[in-house]
């Protein structure tokens, strides 16, 4: 995965943000995950329009942290969700 990739929610996943955290339910796996507020924001940015790099820029600006570090964290976060089949990369 790289910063130009565009992540998008997997079709089998239904999600809802509750009190700032995101609940993700994968109907095929019957798994349920909870993302913390930063993860929930990144989840909402995985909308099929934002690249991973664009999402990292938004997070870096919002939290006032170093972009290089955020780039690395965002790629690791999205890659993990892709491995778990709750995110896919938009073609």
């Amino acid at each position: 995965m790289n910063l130009n990739d565009i992540p998008v929610h997997a079709e089998e996943v239904v999600s809802r943000v509750i009190d700032g955290e995101a609940v993700l339910v994968h109907s095929g796996q019957r798994t349920v995950r909870v993302l913390n507020p930063v993860g929930a924001h990144l989840w909402e940015l995985a909308d099929g329009h934002h690249t991973a790099g664009a999402a990292a820029e938004i997070i870096a600006a919002e939290y006032g942290v170093d972009l290089a570090q955020v780039n690395s964290d965002v790629l690791a976060f999205y890659s993990d969700l892709v491995e778990r089949c709750v995110l896919s990369i938009s073609a």
Partner: protein
């Protein structure tokens, strides 16, 4: 026809042949009613197919994905198949295994999960205990008791908790039905006991739901608060059948979130003794 009444949802079962009907009546005798059913189910057992069929055993608790076809849900497992039509309020189950009652029980559980979901309720993987008010005897639980639900995966200790609670009436050690009533939720017993506790299958109870506890086996005994999202997630993960249907998930998530707002959801760290009862409100 034999009518089963679980949490007020009444389903009439016409079972064929008569041997299956008799076994059904015996198995569910504590939950039968003479009132007219809201839903009809026809059950056929092909004993010949069971004799010549493969020796496939479908272990209790194994969940078969539901297929959706129009207004119907289709079940298809090695030893049974069925169709549940929620609009026409009717179902047909065909059994072809050597243990027709065990197969039928899976069908009944699936049907009740869908009925509960349709009417805003929940079938939840949980042990339920109706505890009498503190310093009151067990016999008063029906009048003054409150229900505590203990959720968790297989092996988390649900049956253990029931065994450690002789002062309380057991709703079930595996599956409990919930209905929203007034400002709160009511919990109802079911006949769907774990195999190792099937001897208690005649027990039943119901009462207002007071607390929900995710079981965590530990050396120490304490309660740990769940945040709103984690609480909803714990509940969703323990709603069989419905949590595998993408079309029903948005409402399931919303419903579990409402339940978690109405009833405290906490992680209960416990060990194999009854000390945890000292932490629960009664």
């Amino acid at each position: 026809m034999t009518t089963l009444d679980l949490a007020g949802w009444r389903v009439g079962f016409a079972c064929h042949p008569a041997s299956v009907a008799a076994a059904f009546t015996e198995r569910y005798r504590s939950f039968l009613t003479d009132a007219s059913p809201h839903f009809g189910a026809t059950v056929f057992w092909d004993a010949d197919a069971a004799t010549r069929g493969p020796h496939t055993e479908w272990s209790a608790g194994t969940e078969v994905p539901l297929q959706v076809s129009g207004n119907s849900y289709l079940l298809d497992a090695p030893s049974y198949c069925g169709r549940i039509d929620m609009v026409r309020a009717e179902a047909t189950f065909s059994l072809r295994g050597r243990a027709p009652l065990a197969d039928l029980e899976y069908c009944v559980r699936t049907l009740y999960a869908l009925l509960a979901d349709r009417d805003g309720g929940l079938l939840m993987h949980a042990a339920g205990l109706l505890a009498p008010a503190r310093n009151h005897p067990r016999s008063t639980a029906h009048r003054n008791g409150h229900v505590h639900l203990f959720v968790g995966n297989s092996g988390s200790g649900k049956s253990t908790v029931v065994g450690l609670s002789p002062h309380a009436l057991a709703l079930n050690d595996d599956l409990v039905l919930l209905r929203h009533q007034g400002e709160g939720w009511m919990a109802y017993g079911t006949p769907f006991w774990n195999a190792e506790t099937a001897g208690r299958s005649g027990e039943t109870a119901s009462g207002p739901l007071t607390g929900i506890y995710r079981l965590v086996q530990d050396h120490d005994v304490f309660l740990e608060r769940c945040g709103p999202a984690a609480a909803a997630a714990e509940l969703i993960a323990n709603c069989p059948v419905v949590n595998g249907d993408p079309a029903r998930l948005p409402e399931l998530i919303a419903r579990c979130s409402r339940l978690a707002n109405a009833v405290p959801v906490q992680r209960l760290h416990f060990r194999k003794d009854s000390e945890f009862w000292g932490l629960l409100p009664r």
